[in-house]
Symmetry: D2
Subunit: 310 residues, 4 copies
């Protein structure tokens, strides 16, 4: 089991689209650990609170991704299991950033919910980020870091790094955090793992479209589950198992997540289909990950205590 280091410098450049067309920057074996320096979602361009986001951000060059990392032995029809060991703030790129970007966010018109309003005002907030917390204007938010974006490659498409889907992508799901294992479908040889979009903290839905964005040192351990042909990403930790759907409208994301969880309970935990449907009706939990990206993301989970009871 080796440990690899993927520094920002060694990556050369970041990727704004997730697909099979970029060359791997690293090759690892199942069981290996990788320590990755990720950039913040703005690639550091929002340097202070006076910067107008629209003056430094250009579509589609947003949400830079580290990778892709080629995992030996991963083939179409397998699942990639990514365990997140830790996510730490980068000392060389300190601080967190959030902002209001014109025509982006959960409570305004956007390019997909196209309206005739003038955009909301542009705003930037900078804040201190340490493992002790996120400090802003006398308030302290908890330091609950996670990766907004984690993904394997689609088979032949290449999907912009702002969009979640079957491949993972920009789910903005706070459960993709230290201690969790993320299962992603493998569609191409080597899986091609991409990651980025570190969030120091985020509310459910990522309401204004931007969390506390920060540059991270993320440590992952990568494994392959042979012959586990996933349709959508799944997450597991000490407490629960979760299926993740990304779609619009939001009810379709919820349906995907819960339908996948029914099938998981059925195929691996000995539940009859209708019992699974009923049990989730009584003890299922829903996490609204984002209500702002091109695909909304919802995770549906069940506590492991109910799996042990079977």
């Amino acid at each position: 089991m080796a440990t690899h280091h993927l520094t920002e410098k060694a990556q050369g450049k970041f990727h704004y689209t997730i697909g099979p067309y970029a060359e791997p920057v690293l090759r690892v074996r199942p069981g290996d650990t990788v320590v990755v320096e990720t950039a913040d979602a703005f690639e550091g361009r929002i340097t202070d609170e006076r910067v107008k986001p629209s003056s430094v951000l250009e579509v589609p060059f947003l949400n830079p991704q580290s990778g892709p990392i080629y995992v030996e032995g991963a083939e179409k029809g397998d699942a990639l299991a990514v365990h997140i060991d830790s996510i730490l703030p980068r000392k060389d790129r300190p601080g967190g950033t959030t902002c209001l970007i014109p025509n982006f966010g959960g409570l305004c018109g956007t390019d997909l919910t196209a309206l005739l309003h003038e955009p909301l005002p542009e705003k930037v907030w900078k804040m201190e980020v340490t493992e002790a917390g996120v400090r802003w204007n006398g308030m302290t938010f908890p330091y609950t870091p996670f990766l907004g974006t984690i993904s394997t490659s689609p088979q032949i498409d290449s999907i912009n790094a702002l969009t979640g889907g079957k491949h993972g992508g920009n789910m903005d799901l706070p459960d993709v955090c230290p201690g969790a294992t993320i299962y992603l479908p493998v569609k191409v040889p080597g899986a091609l793992l991409y990651l980025g979009d570190g969030h120091a903290t985020q509310g459910d839905g990522e309401l204004c479209g931007v969390a506390v964005e920060f540059a991270t040192i993320t440590t992952l351990t990568v494994n392959v589950v042979k012959g586990w042909d996933l349709q959508w990403p799944r997450v597991e930790n000490d407490r629960f198992i979760m299926s993740v759907g990304s779609a619009r409208p939001m009810e379709d994301a919820a349906r995907i997540a819960y339908a996948d969880l029914v099938k998981w309970l059925e195929s691996k935990f000995g539940f009859d289909r209708w019992d699974a449907y009923f049990v989730l009706s009584e003890v299922g939990k829903v996490r609204l990950a984002n209500m702002v990206d091109p695909m909304y993301t919802i995770g549906a989970s069940i506590s492991k205590e109910y799996l042990k009871q079977r």
Copy 2:
């Protein structure tokens, strides 16, 4: 401060539509406590697991409501504050019921998501409900009782008891539970409080459309907040404040809840609008109440710890 008892017998009949056209069954004063016997959502018609739901349930005679209760002094433009003191199982109507009803639920075609599939199978599950828990087939679910439906009267409409909205109604929100205060807009003299649809436990989204339905003895204390002109229901407990939206598609329910919470932070807690938008992006919480009723319901909340920090 008086305590009133509203037995099932005293109510005479239940209501399947919530509006200003029914005669009050009780008149109370602000500060009074009311102990209400509620029926389960099927009015007891699903007596055992061999009953086919479609053979005993008839639209629109579903989800029977207790009330209406006239609150002296409540006028249009006020808010009704309903504190839930306790919800206990009725000893004379023991047990809980859940079921699969044809063309109803979160993972099937319905009358509103009209498809060409045959309905899913009809199923009934009966279970023991006590304050110690809900027991079914060797599993124990927690006893976390709440009212699926609580409402004031709309001004001139009368809305079936299955539909949530600005008036409250069938939100199926687990936070409407003992210890919480529900704020509802008053549109008619006396507010006309309706309640029912006790759930012994329920998962997020009420996936199959039916929680553990049971008959309750619910104790409420009712107050009036003069001149608080709410647009949507709100909830408060020791830990958080929550705004509640009911709409389709689901993202509209989320937008309503969060937009209302922004305005609440702005008007009562000293937040600038954009700071409120930002803070909720980082620490807001979302509860998916139901994804099965004619209007989906979402609650958006913020912990009181962040309100104290201002």
Copy 3:
């Protein structure tokens, strides 16, 4: 076969909610003709272009309806067949009105799509309406009059006159015009027919939320189809048959309309279910009626030429 006249004066007052709780203003027999004076959607309160809509309109007192008209012999489980003979401008209330109302319309935030934008500007446009056309600022739009709202009563609910649904209601469907027969489900004795919201012309979707609103003299002939238990409104004219769905999101309105049309082809025109599904895939037509009301409305139709070919 009698002809009845229902003048504005004889109606006394208009209704803003459609349900079983209002007293009939007229009783007719199947086959009878009724000539009704309808008010415009603003009840004439927008008297000129300087009036701010928000200063004279008050929720829920909007979209005044004539009626209800009791049809002898109509019972639950029947269909009411309303043939529209003609719709003419009222000489005593001349002219048409359209406007921009704050937080209402297809390209702005609304109370259901709740956002943080300032409302769009309020605007009023007045125009000449005659049978020769609608004249505004040098342009002429065709005079294509129809009833935005037509409805039977729900069984026990009362639904505001802005909302479409299974009962008909505010569909804003331009095919509800002279020459067409509208079939509506009967849920209460006498059916209780409501009508109003005359539009002199309207584009697909009623984009800004307001058509060319005008006061009409509408002539209808009313019949009852015994034992035709409709789930949703249907429309028939010389050229096509149409099923009408009202729901959100918009795809659900489309699904309802097309699924009902499949069933109509199956039950009355000798189509196999899958052949009907296929034939509508190739020659079905969709009319977007409104994208602005609490429920969006879509009509799905098939030309009668394909029915004759069977």
Copy 4:
């Protein structure tokens, strides 16, 4: 002005994803005409009515596209103007095909609207297609051919050929037919035009997910409009101008289309923004192109007669 011929054989292979990563198969100049042999959406694999679609179709190798065609001089920020001269049935690949594919279509559960139903039955219908009409089982549908898919390349993404979007793609819009000019945004040098998915006829919404699919000989004339920076596709013919939106939920597709049309009227036809909003409310037309693809597509149009009146 040259005329180029792009036979199936010369293309070598078809493309299932639309992006900048494929080599151009042809280079043309503005004003040139191209005659292209397209494959049907199943690449000919559904050879007769006994074939089960699920046995010969494999995701993501669906909806094969001809191209890409490199147009000299086209640069980012320009619009590609594609005039469709004619669409004829290929004599070497005669006949049309439609079918029911499991978990695909407008009236069933799908991978995005994930439900617990068993799939609808698989079915295949074969039919004769000539310029005189589409004949099936004694019925004749009109021959109204169009390209279901037409596209320029996204800037860095590559999008599967089943999905519509800003780049065009799989819009399934019947107005993309002979006599029409399609305007598409140029994002990469040479624009990279892709086309395919010929439909001999199709109803609004493409209800079951499949039109009358056929192999075509399509003749196009290609031009470049320098400096016309489109956000979404547009269509023009003798009768109207149309803006096209692709999104979910369906109301977002409608909002995109109408908002873009408001801006087109404002920027090119001398309308004030609010007058444009109002005029489209009265005479705008909506075409539901598809309600089955990953993005639903809607076209919003206005008759040229109203543009002349300005």
